[in-house]
C-alpha cells in the first residue's frame, strides 16, 4: 500500500484563548485510500488531541463532517487525499459562526427548519381502520430526490445569498418544504407558503446554483427553489382572479391544497 505525506493546513479557533482564527499546518503521512477526514483523525490521534471537529459515519450518510476543503464545501469523508496536491487547506463551513476549530454553530438553520413545517399536514386524518395512505411509485418519485437530504449544510456554505443575508431561509430547508409540498399525502402547501413565498423564502434566491453543485446527495435544492418560485407566482395570480375563480381553480385542479 503506497503512502504519501501531505501538509494539512487547518483553521484553528479556541473561543477561550483566541481573538480570531489562525492557521496551523500539520505534516500527515497518508495511505493511498485515505480521505481528508482520515488525515484529520490522524492529527487528532497523533499530533494534537485538542483539535475539534464533527464526524460520525465516515460514509457520506450522517452529514456531520462538512467543511471547506481548499475553499470548497465538501464532506471530508468523501474527499479523497489522492485527488489533491501536497497541500490541503481545511476550514470550518463558510457562512456559519465558528464554535471551535472546525465546529460551526448551526443554530440558525435549526431554528428555520421547523418554520416550513417539514412534516405531512392533513386537513383531516383518516381513521386508522381505513388503513395506510398509499402511494404509487410515480407519486413517490415526485419527491424522493428532495427527501435524500442529510442536513450536512454544504449548500448553505456554498450559497452566497445566505452569506450576505442570514434571514434567507436557505437551500436545504426550502428543498425540504418542497419535498412535503410534492408528497401526494400532504395538504399543507398553503401553510408552508407563508414562509417559503415570503421575500426571505424562495425570492431571496438569485439562482446562483452553487447549492446543487456542492450537494453530496444530488438533492438539487436549486431546482426545488425555482419550482417553488413558479408555484408561488401562479398562486399570486390565481389569488387575484375575480369572483373566487382562483379558489375554484385551486380546489378543482389542485385538490391537495385544501388544508387550513
Amino acid at each position: 500500500m503506497s503512502e504519501r505525506t501531505i501538509e494539512l493546513e487547518i483553521l484553528r479557533y479556541n473561543p477561550d484563548t483566541d481573538e480570531a482564527p489562525w492557521k496551523q499546518t500539520f505534516t500527515v503521512p497518508c495511505q493511498e485510500e485515505w480521505v481528508v477526514l482520515d488525515a484529520i483523525n490522524y492529527v487528532k490521534d497523533h499530533l494534537d488531541s485538542s483539535l475539534s471537529y464533527r464526524w460520525s459515519c465516515h460514509m457520506a450518510v450522517c452529514g456531520s463532517c462538512g467543511m471547506m476543503i481548499n475553499g470548497e464545501p465538501m464532506l471530508s469523508c468523501k474527499a479523497f487525499i489522492r485527488d489533491y496536491g501536497r497541500k490541503i487547506r481545511v476550514e470550518p463551513l463558510s457562512h456559519f459562526p465558528i464554535e471551535r476549530d472546525l465546529v460551526v454553530v448551526l443554530d440558525d438553520v435549526m431554528e428555520k427548519l421547523p418554520r416550513v413545517k417539514p412534516y405531512i399536514i392533513r386537513d383531516e386524518e383518516k381513521p386508522v381502520e381505513e388503513g395506510e395512505y398509499k402511494q404509487t411509485p410515480t407519486e413517490l418519485y415526485e419527491f424522493k430526490q428532495y427527501s435524500m437530504c442529510i442536513n450536512c449544510l454544504l449548500c448553505y456554505a456554498a450559497c452566497p445569498q445566505y452569506g450576505l443575508n442570514e434571514e434567507f431561509i436557505g437551500p436545504a430547508v426550502l428543498a425540504l418544504a418542497h419535498r412535503y409540498n410534492k408528497d401526494s399525502r400532504d395538504e399543507g402547501r398553503d401553510q408552508r407558503e407563508e414562509i417559503t413565498a415570503a421575500h426571505e423564502g424562495v425570492w431571496e434566491c438569485s439562482f446562483v446554483g452553487a447549492c446543487s453543485e456542492v450537494c453530496p446527495k444530488a438533492v438539487d435544492p436549486a431546482a426545488a427553489i425555482q419550482q417553488m418560485k413558479i408555484a408561488s407566482t401562479m398562486d399570486w395570480y390565481l389569488d387575484r382572479l375575480p369572483a373566487g375563480l382562483g379558489t375554484r381553480i385551486k380546489t378543482t385542479l389542485m385538490p391537495r391544497r385544501t388544508a387550513k
Binding site: 473561543p15 480570531a20 459562526p97 465558528i98 452566497p160 438569485s206
Partner: protein, 130 residues
C-alpha cells in the same frame, strides 16, 4: 469553558471573487446590463425612425462609430453568454412529465439551442442577410 463563536463577515462588494462559480454567476448578472442598454438603443432607434429620414440617417451613421461598434460587439458576447447560461439551467425549473419519468434535462437544453438556431436563421433570412 464559555461560548464565544467567531463570526466571519462576507464582503458585500467582493464576495463574488471567491471562486469561479460565483464569477460565472456575476457575469450572467452583469450581462443583463448590456442587454438592457442594447434594448434602450433599440427603443431609441424607433424614436429616431418616427422623427423622419434625417434623424434616422444620423442614427445609422452613429452606429458605425468605434464606440458603437465596440459596444455592440460586447453586447453580442454578453447576450450570447446570458442566453447560454439560462438555457443550461432551464431543466431545474422546467419539469416535463413523460410517462412515469421526466424529460431528461440535456434534451430540454438541446431543444432550447435548436429553437434559438431556428429563430436566428428565420430572422437572418427575414432581414436579407442569408
Amino acid at each position: 469553558m464559555s461560548r464565544n463563536p467567531y463570526v466571519r463577515t462576507v464582503s458585500p462588494t467582493t464576495w463574488y471573487m471567491r471562486n469561479g462559480r460565483y464569477i460565472r454567476y456575476i457575469l450572467r448578472e452583469v450581462s443583463s446590463l448590456f442587454i438592457g442598454l442594447y434594448m434602450a438603443g433599440l427603443a431609441m432607434s424607433l424614436m429616431r425612425l418616427a422623427q423622419g429620414p434625417k434623424a434616422w440617417d444620423a442614427y445609422v451613421d452613429g452606429l458605425s462609430s468605434p464606440v458603437a461598434l465596440v459596444f455592440h460587439a460586447l453586447a453580442f458576447v454578453f447576450a450570447t453568454y446570458h442566453a447560454m447560461s439560462w438555457f443550461n439551467v432551464t431543466p431545474k425549473a422546467m419539469r416535463i412529465r413523460r410517462g412515469d419519468d421526466y424529460v431528461p434535462g440535456p434534451l430540454i437544453v438541446r431543444a432550447h439551442y435548436i429553437l434559438w438556431g431556428v429563430v436566428s436563421l428565420v430572422i437572418l433570412v427575414f432581414v436579407g442577410v442569408l
